[in-house]
């Protein structure tokens, strides 16, 4: 079984601007892929090229086994970054219409829309005009509209933006359930926590180029671990301590300091702790902190070379 989406040496140039540069990656079927990158990294352009909305300058795309996305449109669900729906339509009408464009028969689309809305707590609002729904409800309807035709591949461009924490959690559950059902989910985001919780695979993009492709665990390993020390000592007390770089000092209440430092990968944390004790430093806290995706993201996208002060 081939990849749901295979992108090979894809490049998109707008005049002098290189939006996507020699990008290659694959999204396996039935998996959740996080497409990460800072604003302007080329995520939306890549997704649009995958959907056949924008023609690549060079490179190849295979989506659900086809090089021409128009042949598999009916099997793809898409939610664009900025979104809205027909304000005077009801959720059922809007979902039925959009599912109808994906080839679902009207009666079936209407039934499926009703079921989806009921199961996501929008049963009471399903016959109300969308303009009369709250923003959160309308966003949920928009998302469900992309799913009403049971797509094999779901592409969500920044799906979490604008959602409150409760709806973000609800969306995470929905994305997991789609993957459980066997659908492939590709979503772009620059909020790493969602990707960290959801993704089997992440692809990081910076300035149009791929800077990472792999699992979340592998991405985390790209960033160095850090050490947190707290205690009533002077700010320069750790200078010269082996294995610690990029010290970041923060003054806490009661005259204590918190020092966060990047740990040299070649130096075990026990060595650092041993030296601290050897110097007789009055420490209240020593913590070895594993890197998170956010730190890896910052490092990989070169947004900030030193992640020592990251919290």
């Amino acid at each position: 079984m081939g990849a749901a989406l295979a992108i090979d040496r894809l490049t998109k140039r707008y005049g002098q601007v290189l939006a996507v540069d020699d990008l290659s990656f694959e999204a396996s079927r039935g998996r959740i892929l996080g497409f990460l990158g800072p604003n302007g990294a080329g995520k939306t352009t890549t997704l649009r090229m995958a959907l056949g909305l924008v023609r690549p300058t060079s490179g190849r795309i295979s989506i659900l086994g086809q090089e021409d996305a128009s042949k598999v449109r009916a099997r793809i669900g898409f939610l664009p970054e900025e979104r809205g729906l027909y304000r005077r339509m009801t959720p059922v009408q809007a979902m039925t219409f959009l599912a109808g464009l994906k080839g679902v028969k009207t009666a079936q689309a209407r039934r499926r829309a009703g079921e989806l809305l009921d199961s996501h707590g929008l049963g009471e609002a399903k016959h109300r005009q969308i303009r009369r729904l709250s923003k959160g409800m309308a966003q949920k309807v928009q998302l469900l509209s992309a799913l009403a035709h049971d797509p094999d591949l779901v592409i969500l461009d920044e799906p979490f933006s604008g959602l409150d924490p409760v709806n973000q959690l609800s969306l995470e559950t929905l994305i997991r359930s789609l993957a459980t059902r066997g659908a492939t989910v590709i979503f772009s985001t620059h909020v790493m926590q969602h990707a960290e919780r959801l993704c089997d695979q992440v692809v990081l993009l910076a300035a149009g180029r791929k800077v990472f492709d792999g699992t979340v665990a592998a991405a985390r390993k790209v960033a160095p671990r850090s050490v947190v020390l707290e205690g009533p000592f002077a700010g320069d007390v750790l200078s010269g301590l082996r294995g610690l770089n990029g010290l970041c000092v923060e003054r806490l209440d009661g005259g204590t300091l918190r020092i966060v430092a990047t740990l040299d990968p070649s130096v075990p944390a026990q060595i650092v702790l041993g030296e601290v004790f050897a110097r007789g430093l009055p420490i209240d806290r020593f913590e070895l902190r594993e890197p998170n995706l956010h730190e890896a993201f910052i490092l990989l996208t070169a947004a900030r070379p030193d992640v020592g002060c990251a919290q």
Partner: protein, 428 residues
Amino acid sequence: MTHVWKIAAREYAAYVQTLGFWLSILLLPVGFFVLAVAPTIVQRATPPPALAVVDFSARHLAPEIARAIRLETAGGAPPARLVPAPGAPFADAFDASRRLRPFLAGPSVVADGERLDVVAILRPAGGTVAVDIWSRQVADRSVAGLVSDAVDRAIRRQALARAGVDPAVVAAIDHVSASVTDFSPKAAQGKVALRDRLPGLVGLGMGFLLWMSVLTGAGMLLGSVIEEKSSRILEILLSSVAVWQIMAGKILGVAGVTATVLALWVTIAGVVVAVRYPSLGADLADILLARGLLFYFAVYFVGGYLMFATLYVTIGAFCESPREAQTLLGPMMILISVPLMFMGQALARPDSPVLTVLAFVPPFTPFMMVARVAADPPPWQIAATMALMAAATALEVWVAIPAFRSGALTSGRFDLRTFLAGLSRRLD
């Protein structure tokens, strides 16, 4: 094609289900009715202007003016009402104008409690009569014209009488006029009747109808695409169906809305004509069907609508708000106003070289040809304009499809350079 119908049906329902749509449909017939009865209502509600005549001419002209008012009244509302000049007698014309002027400028009333509207001061001037008209409403020349005509007639009769012509002869000559009959080889009976002029009038009417349809339909399309662009629904549609299907669906849907409006208006007009002028209704039906005009109208209607609808849909794809669209709508309005200025000429001079040339300019072709086709232009002109219109529309659609996609995916404010780049996308 199913997708086109689905988009068209949604577009159609979106308009037809609104109260505003039905109100706007009814507004036009109501507007026409009001337009027809408004002058009568205004005339009935407004008393005839009060006219005071001060005659220094010594020619006894005031009774002539009174007679003219009586003749003009003829059972209807009188054009003016004679009242005595307040403060008469006057020393001379200057005295009269000086003393009567305040009655015309302010709220002062004449003796019987009414306002004075017009004063006509007649005075001798080098063997003839000068008429000074003082009016409250400077724009209303109706009473001045009536007085002037009455005085002209009277002094001519007096001059003829002084020259020894019998007044009875003068009165008889006044009624002499030529009997003019219009003939034309194009008239069915040789003699030109209303029925022979009807095709030209119908063509002109259809031209205006097409113009209105294009304007309203294009406006609807523009609004609809802008709404979908600003809410990013267009992007969802683009990921679901082909660009041509979106464009065709929207154009078809709004065409359905326009057709519904036209059908309702034509039905209302048909009922009115059938009830009030049954023979005219039969003539109209005969003209449209027997001479193939209906076919020509249909072809030019479809071509014209498609041409402008495609253009407006493409413009809409580049705009996030109607205000942004105004940048291009200004030149568009100038373009679409050109045939409006020339269509009327087609009634009298359908073969004019200017109109013929304009008929071959694709954006004007539908309007100019609809207005001219009833005058039987050479068949090659009909064939050539149709072919040119079809080719221009096909070229426009060919350029518009990638431009629409490009516009739909752009964000930010409308930019003319981006729009032109979008139009040239096909040429990349």
